[in-house]
């Protein structure tokens, strides 16, 4: 019953310069799960993702992924273990075409993990199929958001860190984004989703953690969170 979680974070501390951002967070994600990491602006969601990915060197704590300790590995080694990262700012290569952006994300096929090709991704994000040669810099925000997810999927990840995928998008695109995340789950890809948008998270996630001031304040099922108004009031309402 209790298979080890796919991604496990224990007592993770991280700094930005001298500012202590993460004060010992712990969380876990099991295979095939979609887990939301909720919290207000500046709560430490993005830093948590960067610390897991090795983009911010953790000061203390453990991160295990697929049975390996990864908290001291450089980002490219972590990515090659099958952990994908989709940054909040999207960070599309603006000079490169859609196809070239995907090419940069390409990694070798991994056993036991869904494998992605350009054509399969174009089925998931039909908009991208119509602009294969367009430079990343000349795409709309929603198109860029799809491209950044598609680019990470080219690495055939078993788990994806998704930082605020609904931010700044039109409602109809947000709905498309939710469908895409459900499709990922359908393929068997695990997802950690950073969100401020509770409504969006409720529609796609199985479980949620709430982070505030660099600490985890709540961990439980989406149903629990939906039922508990005071919790939402205290940590999530603006």
């Amino acid at each position: 019953m209790t298979a080890p979680p796919m991604l496990e974070v224990k007592d993770l501390h991280a700094f930005y310069g001298r500012a202590h951002i993460l004060h010992g967070i712990s969380l876990e994600v099991r295979a095939g799960e979609v887990v939301a990491l909720l919290g207000r602006n500046g709560a430490g969601k993005s830093t948590a993702m960067k610390a897991i990915m090795g983009l911010v060197t953790p000061a203390r704590g453990e991160v295990s992924f697929a049975g390996m300790r990864i908290e001291r590995l450089p980002p490219y080694r972590i990515a090659r273990l099958g952990l994908g990262y989709v940054p909040e700012e999207r960070r599309i290569f603006t000079e490169l075409s859609v196809m070239e952006n995907l090419e940069v994300g390409r990694q070798a096929v991994r056993a036991g993990v869904p494998t992605w090709t350009e054509e399969k991704l174009f089925k998931l994000f039909p908009n991208l199929a119509r602009m294969r040669e367009r430079p990343g810099g000349r795409m709309s925000g929603g198109e860029q958001q799809m491209l950044t997810i598609a680019r990470t999927l080219m690495g055939n990840p078993s788990c994806v860190l998704l930082d605020e995928p609904s931010e700044g998008l039109a409602p109809i695109i947000v709905e498309e984004m939710a469908n895409s995340i459900r499709a990922l789950k359908g393929e068997g890809v695990s997802v950690i989703l950073c969100e401020q948008n509770l409504h969006f998270a409720l529609g796609v996630a199985d479980r949620a953690y709430i982070i505030e001031k660099g600490q985890i304040r709540f961990g439980g099922s989406m149903a629990e969170l939906a039922a508990n108004e005071s919790l939402r009031e205290q940590y999530l309402s603006v």
Binding site: P75, P87, F93
Partner: protein, 624 residues
């Protein structure tokens, strides 16, 4: 000029542009991905020439031998590039960018001496290309067939590079990393391997650029810094990171130089204008012009945001006690030391002021200068010429010289403060080179390559010890003054502007004006250092204004550490003393200096004084 002679100059220029393009494209590629301004790139070009020379001797002067040598030499230079990347630069990618610059200076010194040791100091004249030593007749003029081949090679290499960058996975990775290398790493790409491969390709281009020059230019030890200046100009004019821009700029500059030589001396309205003398300056004039009109070069784009760096540490004011104790100690030295030491100390004092003034502008004011020797040299020449040519008393010449240097800084600075980052650094280099070539060629005024002689101080200062005291007082006062200025409102404004230009301007600081004033201030004080230095030596040579002098200054500052105030003084002292000691004991002092600098770079990535502070802090922590 007739149509035929215009055509000839055009072809000459295009042939010269080929190598210039190859070298610059490599430099641009490496800078784009690694953000390292690789000063050693010129050394790789030089190795390309030397390597080809030796390989042709080995293979024999057959077409196969010649072309085999060219290709093999280029590939061998590529391997040298890999060595530099793996052994040195890979270890310091996380160090401040200026420190990486210091490491590449060290590599320049080491490679120069390896070349001196292997090939000797004599110029080596290579053979002509077998089978292509004939000339082709075009419009009644004879053009070497080899030149026509070179003209064809430029576009071919451009096309190959374009295919490589736009049609391969490697090219996509390189272009992606040029924009956001951290993201490329997060997508699973091993940056170290990518950087090494980029260094290989860039170095092969430099090596090939050199190898192809062997029938046109003798291999010699001055090529490294000469070509790097040219390559900087080409990349900056074309736009950093733009291969097409480098091609365009190489052609513009190659052709402009060829026309300057071809036109020769022309009489306009009774004035003689010597275009051939303009040859050394013309590329820098083009660069200054382009940067003023298009601050990112012809085909360049604004630079990608630099990666976030740690905030600069607090500067600590050296206390008056500290300064006075040191002054007193330095004042006592001549009582115990011999004449030789006193003279060496005079040198150190001059270079300390030179180095502190450079630190002021590149550290707290945040404007890195690759051409600080301009003001040192102008100060030296102004002192000498005011006395020798204008008959001023030595004392007056000494005091007016800094003002002359300041005047030049007013003009140069006006242009420079309009740019930032690498472009600013390159423009300072351009102005220094313009000054150098004027000094170098104006025989009737500056004595040309011989320099100025008999620049001795007045009788009451003739004694070496007395002059040492004068130098100590003037340069010491200059150093303390610059330090105090850093803690005045003016200094705070400069530092605010360095850390966040936008916010500084938003609170009402006229940043550009302040930076200009800083430029003039450090220019004048570097001029003072130069003037004091000139009278201590009794002669002035154009080398006091050369790139080598500018890089010496950078080495002093970076060696001591850019993050402390005392660092540049310590760096100047150690560099000057070490160079003196090493140069007295071995012909290969550069390699020794380079080796020492590399050791320091790899062991103390904060500079000597910064590194010592870290060590002391650790020691205290352990005791506590």
């Amino acid at each position: 000029m007739t149509l035929a002679s215009i055509l000839i100059q055009l072809l000459n220029g295009l042939a010269a542009a080929a190598s210039l393009f190859l070298v610059s494209a490599g430099l641009s590629l490496i800078f784009g991905v690694t953000r390292i301004v690789n000063f050693a790139h010129g050394s790789l070009y030089m190795l390309g020439l030397y390597g080809t020379y030796s390989l042709i001797q080995f293979f024999g002067r057959t077409p196969l031998g010649f072309w085999g040598a060219v290709v093999l030499a280029a590939l061998a230079v590529g391997l040298v590039g890999i060595l530099i990347e793996v052994l040195v630069l890979r270890r310091i990618y996380r160090a401040p960018e200026l420190f990486q610059l210091l490491a590449t200076f060290a590599v320049v010194l080491v490679i120069k001496d390896i070349a001196l040791f292997t090939w000797g100091a004599e110029d080596l004249v290579g053979p002509r290309a077998p089978g292509l030593s004939t000339a082709v007749e075009i419009m009644g003029r004879r053009i070497p067939a080899y030149d026509l081949l070179l003209i064809a090679i430029g576009p071919v290499v451009l096309a190959l590079l374009w295919l490589l960058l736009t049609r391969t996975r490697w090219g996509a990775l390189v272009r992606a990393a040029t924009q956001d290398r951290e993201m490329v790493g997060a997508l699973g790409v091993d940056q170290a391997k990518l950087f090494t491969s980029v260094f290989f390709v860039g170095s092969v281009l430099a090596g090939l650029g050199g190898a192809l020059q062997i029938p046109r230019e003798p291999a010699n030890l001055e090529l490294d810094l000469a070509i790097i200046a040219d390559a900087f100009v080409v990349t900056v004019v074309g736009g950093l990171g733009s291969i097409g821009g480098a091609f365009l700029a190489a052609i513009i500059i190659g052709v402009a130089k060829a026309f300057c030589i071809g036109i020769g001396t022309v009489t306009w309205f009774g004035f003689e204008v010597s275009f051939s003398k303009l040859t050394l300056v013309v590329e820098f004039l083009i660069m200054a012009l382009v940067l003023v009109v298009r601050p990112y070069g012809l085909l360049g784009k604004p630079q990608a945001a630099q990666r976030a760096t740690e905030p600069a540490p607090r500067l600590q004011v050296p206390s008056w006690t500290f300064a006075l104790v040191w002054l007193a100690l330095l004042a006592l030295v001549p009582l115990a030391a011999d004449r030789y030491t006193t003279i060496l100390l005079t040198d150190i004092v001059c270079f300390a002021l030179f180095s502190v003034s450079l630190h002021f502008i590149m550290g707290p004011a945040g404007m890195v200068s690759f051409g600080h020797a301009a003001y040192f040299g102008i100060g030296a020449y102004a002192a000498g010429l005011l006395m020798k040519r204008f008959g001023l008393p030595m004392e007056a010449a000494l005091l007016l010289a800094p003002l002359v240097a300041g005047l030049f800084a007013i003009v140069y600075g006006w242009f420079c403060v309009r740019l930032s980052g690498v472009y600013l650094a390159m423009l300072t280099l351009a102005f220094a080179q313009i000054s150098w070539s004027v000094v170098f060629q104006w025989d009737s005024m500056t004595g040309g390559s011989n320099g100025v002689f008999g620049v001795w101080p007045s009788a009451w200062l003739a004694d070496k010890t007395t002059y040492y005291y004068l130098a100590l007082v003037l340069c010491g006062a200059g150093i303390v003054f610059l330090w105090r200025v850093l803690f005045s409102p003016f200094g705070y404004a400069l530092r605010a502007g360095r850390d966040s230009p936008l916010r500084a301007e938003a609170i009402g600081i006229d940043l550009r004006g302040f930076q200009w004033a800083a430029f003039v201030l450090v220019g004048a004080l570097a001029g003072l250092a130069g003037a004091v230095y000139a009278f201590s030596k009794g002669s002035i040579s154009p080398s006091s204004i050369s790139i080598a002098q500018s890089t010496d200054g950078l080495i002093m500052v970076l060696l001591g550490g850019v993050e402390t105030l005392t660092g540049p003084v310590v760096g100047a002292a150690i560099f000057t003393w070490l160079r003196d000691v090493v140069a007295r004991n071995t012909e290969f002092w550069r390699a020794v200096m380079g080796g020492v600098i590399l050791l320091i770079v790899l062991l103390f990535p904060q500079g000597l004084v910064g590194g010592l502070k870290v060590l002391v802090a650790r020691w205290r922590e352990q005791r506590a």
